[in-house]
């Protein structure tokens, strides 16, 4: 029996019939065509499927689609369109903080959440915040560099812009 789900995805209200067992990740990827959310382990260990649900990062593989009822969900596609993480994405690009690109969505989500909570993180704090994000390609240092550089950039912004960036 399918459930009629009403939720907001990347600012658009959507209504879709979903099976109760469908994960949010499968719903986003298969029903919404939002394939920027990746699946790496389907058990909440690798971080490739992180999305923002009501502003907080969640593993879309561990959340059922029906749990998103009435929530706002933001994926990498939405974050890109609003420009909210444009500076972070630019720093990742400058620093080559991605190779195959499969973990990148999750890295950006974790980084965005970290910088919102702690605008001036140390390198250790950045590494700690990425403790649930697996990357096989980079060795992490470039990712840490890119996030640290974004933090400095945002600190140097006039306050109003810094708030807008959040």
């Amino acid at each position: 029996m399918k459930h009629l789900l009403t939720t907001t995805v990347n600012g658009e209200q959507v209504q879709e019939a979903v099976s109760p067992r469908t994960s949010l990740a499968d719903f986003l990827r298969e029903d919404m065509g939002l394939t920027g959310t990746h699946l790496g382990c389907e058990m909440g260990a690798c971080g490739a499927c992180l999305v923002l649900m009501d502003g907080a990062p969640v593993h879309a593989c561990l959340v059922l689609a029906v749990q998103a009822e009435g929530c706002t969900v933001e994926t990498i596609e939405g974050l890109t369109e609003t420009g909210a993480a444009a500076d972070l994405q630019a720093r990742f690009h400058d620093r080559n903080a991605l190779q195959c690109g499969y973990c990148t969505n999750g890295m950006l989500m974790s980084a965005q959440a970290l910088l919102a909570a702690n605008p001036d993180p140390s390198r250790d704090e950045i590494r700690d915040a990425l403790s649930g994000n697996y990357c096989r390609c980079t060795g992490y240092e470039a990712i840490v560099d890119a996030i640290a550089a974004t933090a400095s950039d945002r600190a140097a912004l006039p306050e109003t812009k810094a708030e807008a960036a959040e």
């Binding site: 099976s19 067992r21 990827r29 298969e30 939002l34 394939t35 920027g36 959310t37 990746h38 699946l39 790496g40 382990c41 389907e42 058990m43 260990a45 690798c46 490739a48 994926t75 990498i76 596609e77 974050l79 890109t80 994405q89 990742f92 690009h93 400058d94 080559n96 991605l98 190779q99 195959c100 690109g101 499969y102 973990c103 990148t104 969505n105 950006l108 390198r123 250790d124 950045i126 590494r127 700690d128 990425l130 403790s131 994000n133 697996y134 990357c135 096989r136 390609c137 980079t138 060795g139 992490y140 240092e141 470039a142 990712i143 840490v144």
Partner: protein, 787 residues
């Protein structure tokens, strides 16, 4: 004019990934597509009596369930041997187990349904009646006389053996002042690419064409495999590798599941998708390493290395992997031993043993980490035995920078390496005297730190000596088609592939420099057998060296073509013209005509060209390496660790790399290849291990149980370069992708053992888990109290 080779250009294609617009096979859905799920053997070894699919077949959404009888008939079996590995055996393998199951996870049935979830539901209802048999789970026991067979179709459990020796090795040991020994064990680990293996096979019966969307490094190799094993004309097989979420050697082997997807699509005439879940990745992706090595090293009284002798037991699966075999790893282990050192005598013995575990094969830095760790552990023991400092003993024994060309005791030919310069540079970066002083003072506070170093060579730019000579249909050459578009922009289609290394970026840089344009004007296409010329693609560190040279030569041929045409257009001798800043310039540097104008005339107004002039602005060029069989690179790594002797936990504080990959095309990308490689070396040194119980069950097949290196455990990695271009090519580039992995674990093990030196404890097994460190401390304590 600015040269783009050597510039730290960013990757254009990274922008798509940052925007969530990557295009991976696992993202793709085709009309009428079916989802495949495999029913797998729950035991490591057994005989199939019955597979009952009746209940499963009745499940909603299920379209078909295949067992071996139907599916295997569509595919000729594959055999993972190579002709130049004399005496090697491997029984044939086909998609689904026929009578015998040979490892836990061996596919026995294939369920096809409209959704993955429905296929999984049905797979649970397939009833298997398999009689348990005793599995072979220990390579040493497997080789004893009378051992049960891991694979009943094999003669015995010895897949391959080889001996490599010089004439005077025994005399060298007999006359040695010091002989040091080590017995070492290197755990089995696996690639754990973040995107699992993924394939969609799409057979169109109306045209007879098979298109396979395949997350692989080597589309041409699979075009050939699918063509031959499924009896299709090569021209009817297209393999497309779009974005690939990590590969590292793992995605270039033939797997039962991918072959199954193709076979099912051929039978059903519908697209068939298979994407491994994480447990399936652990149970079916190739595993790597799994060695037991005994090594010894002979030295004279001054600490000069005279000889090495090594026995390597490589423990593989129940078959040898296809088409690259499971023996190349061990073969490289025995050939790379002692490679950085001036050493005249050597004996290496290799035994490759079948077991009832997942097949093993080539993974990043094939054989290198094992050879490096054994050699460097022996050098470290030699330093202790002779009272020499670790830097000093290496300084005395590394092949001198002015002593090339050099042939190693194992027969490798080195064109020109820079071990001494690398050692000196590492010394400067690490400041070992300061570290030692600091460690001595920290020890008084109960803090145990140590550092270790490890020299290495890396095999790159392989020619046909790797596989071609053994009969494998694996291309040693690459091809590029470079064309100028009517706008004057350039397009390059090339056979080397991209998995995030930056292949497309460096190819654009190389082509841009040949044609006097910026890399932004060069678009690059890779990864599709229908749109790029045939070639070996990206493996064994050949993308930059061989792919780059292919692009360079193709670019130069197009340059000559453009200049000839320009000469006719501007009435000048083409030899007096060159390409610069998007235009043809003369000897004075004055622009005579832009590429855009040439493109316009050649495309839209060829009627205005002089009669008979060739206005085709497309060239194809293929390049195969010549000269040395491989272009070796070299370098040295350093590791700094702190060991908590109460808990056995290790903090990796810092890692250093000095690397010489010849001409650096893009320093940003080179450094990130090294960093990523180092972390793939540190992972198996400290965390990663596929753990099996005595029944051959993999007991840690999830990302919660199998530990991979994460951000908080990894150190910052400082990198320096020496540049010794190869003279084999115009470009002078060698590979770099495996250098980090080659020596990181060796340096780390030496560092841990340096930290444990005050206790007389020593690690000889990877991964160096807290438990193994505590065991080593206990063993040393017992030895002290009960000598």
């Amino acid at each position: 004019m600015t040269m783009h080779i050597g510039q730290a250009a960013r990757r254009e294609n990274a922008r798509r990934h940052l925007a969530g617009r990557g295009r991976f096979v696992s993202d793709l859905a085709l009309p009428r597509m079916l989802h495949a799920v495999f029913v797998r053997s729950p035991m490591a070894r057994g005989r199939i009596f019955e597979i009952d699919t009746s209940e499963a077949s009745a499940c909603p959404g299920v379209v078909r369930i295949f067992t071996a009888a139907e599916l295997n008939a569509r595919c000729t079996p594959w055999i993972g041997t190579l002709g130049h590995f004399a005496g090697m055996q491997s029984p044939p393998m086909n998609i689904l187990a026929e009578d015998e199951v040979l490892w836990t996870g061996h596919p026995v049935a294939m369920v096809l349904a409209r959704s993955r979830a429905e296929a999984e539901d049905a797979a649970e209802l397939v009833m298997l009646d398999i009689e348990d048999a005793e599995p072979v789970t220990d390579g040493a026991a497997a080789l004893r006389p009378g051992a049960p067979l891991a694979n009943p179709a094999a003669r015995d459990n010895l897949c391959y053996e080889a001996v490599l020796e010089t004439a005077d090795v025994d005399a060298a040991f007999a006359g040695a002042a010091h002989v040091v020994e080590a017995s070492m064990t290197f755990g089995r680990h696996t690639a754990v690419t973040l995107e699992p293996r993924a394939v969609i096979a799409d057979f169109d019966a109306s045209s007879g064409a098979l298109t396979v969307h395949h997350g692989t490094q080597t589309p041409y190799q699979f075009q050939d495999v699918y063509s031959r094993h499924f009896g299709l004309p090569e021209g009817k097989v297209r393999v497309i590798a779009p974005d690939v979420g990590g590969s590292f050697g793992m995605k270039l082997h033939v797997y039962n599941e991918e072959m199954g997807a193709v076979a099912a699509s051929l039978i059903l005439g519908r697209p068939v998708r298979y994407v491994a879940d994480r447990l399936e990745s652990f149970l079916s992706d190739i595993h790597a390493r799994d060695h037991i090595v005994q090594g010894r090293m002979a030295l004279d009284a001054e600490g000069t290395i005279l000889a090495m002798e090594v026995n390597d037991l490589t423990q593989v699966g129940a078959i040898s992997a296809y088409p690259r075999t499971s023996a190349a790893e061990g073969n490289q282990v025995i050939r790379l031993m002692g490679a950085p050192y001036r050493m005249s005598d050597y004996r290496g013995r290799l035994s490759v043993a079948f077991q009832n575990k997942v097949q093993t094969s080539q993974y990043r830095a094939v054989g290198h980490p094992i050879a490096c760790a054994v050699t460097e552990a022996l050098v470290e023991r030699a330093a202790e035995a002779t009272g020499l400092d670790p830097f000093e003993i290496r300084a005395r024994n590394l092949i001198a920078d002015d002593a090339y060309p050099h042939v190693s005791a194992t027969g490798y030919q080195f064109e020109k390496l820079s071990h001494q310069a690398c050692l000196a540079k590492l010394h400067e970066m690490m400041e070992p005297d300061a570290l030692r002083a600091e460690h001595a003072s920290l020890r008084k506070q109960g803090i145990y730190r140590g550092f270790g170093i490890a020299s290495f060579v890396e095999i790159t730019n392989p020619g046909a000596a790797f596989y071609g000579v053994g009969g494998a249909r694996i291309s040693a050459q690459d091809g590029a088609v470079v064309r100028m578009m009517p706008s004057g922009d350039i397009h390059c289609a090339i056979s080397v592939t991209e998995q995030g290394q930056g292949t497309e970026t460096i190819i654009a840089q190389v082509v841009a420099d040949q044609l006097g344009v910026t890399p932004e004007r060069v678009s690059v296409t890779t990864g599709d057998t229908a749109t790029t010329p045939s070639g070996g693609a990206t493996w064994a560190c050949r993308g930059a060296g061989i792919g780059g040279e292919t692009a360079l030569r193709a670019g130069r041929r197009l340059r000559d073509r453009i200049l000839t045409l320009a000469g006719a257009l501007v009435q000048a001798d083409p030899a007096s013209l060159r390409l610069e800043n998007g235009a043809v310039v003369d000897a004075t540097g004055a622009a005579r005509i832009t590429l855009e104008e040439i493109g316009r005339i050649a495309t839209y107004r060829p009627d205005t060209l002089p009669d008979g002039i060739d206005h085709s602005l497309t060239v194809a060029h293929h390049f195969a390496p010549t000269g040395y069989p491989f272009d070796f690179t070299n370098g040295i790594q350093g590791s700094l660790v702190e060991v908590d002797v109460e808990t056995g936990l290790v903090r990796i504080l810092k890692h250093w790399v000095v690397e010489d990959c010849g001409r650096i095309i893009n320093p940003l990308l080179v450094d990130e290849q090294i960093r990523g490689g180092v972390v793939q070396g540190l992972g198996p040194a400290f965390f990663e291990e596929c753990q099996y119980d005595a029944d051959g069950q993999l007991t840690n097949g999830s990302l919660a149980d199998y530990l991979v290196p994460m951000a908080c455990e990894m150190p910052d990695i400082e990198i320096a370069h020496i540049e010794t271009p190869t003279g084999d090519t115009i470009l002078g580039a060698k590979g770099v992708g495996e250098a980090g992995t080659a020596a990181a674990g060796a340096a780390a093990m030496n560092a841990v053992n340096d930290a444990l030196r005050p206790f007389g404890a020593r690690l000889t097994q990877t991964p160096m888990t807290p438990l193994r460190i505590l065991d080593a401390l206990d063993a040393a304590r017992e030895e002290r109290t009960d000598p």
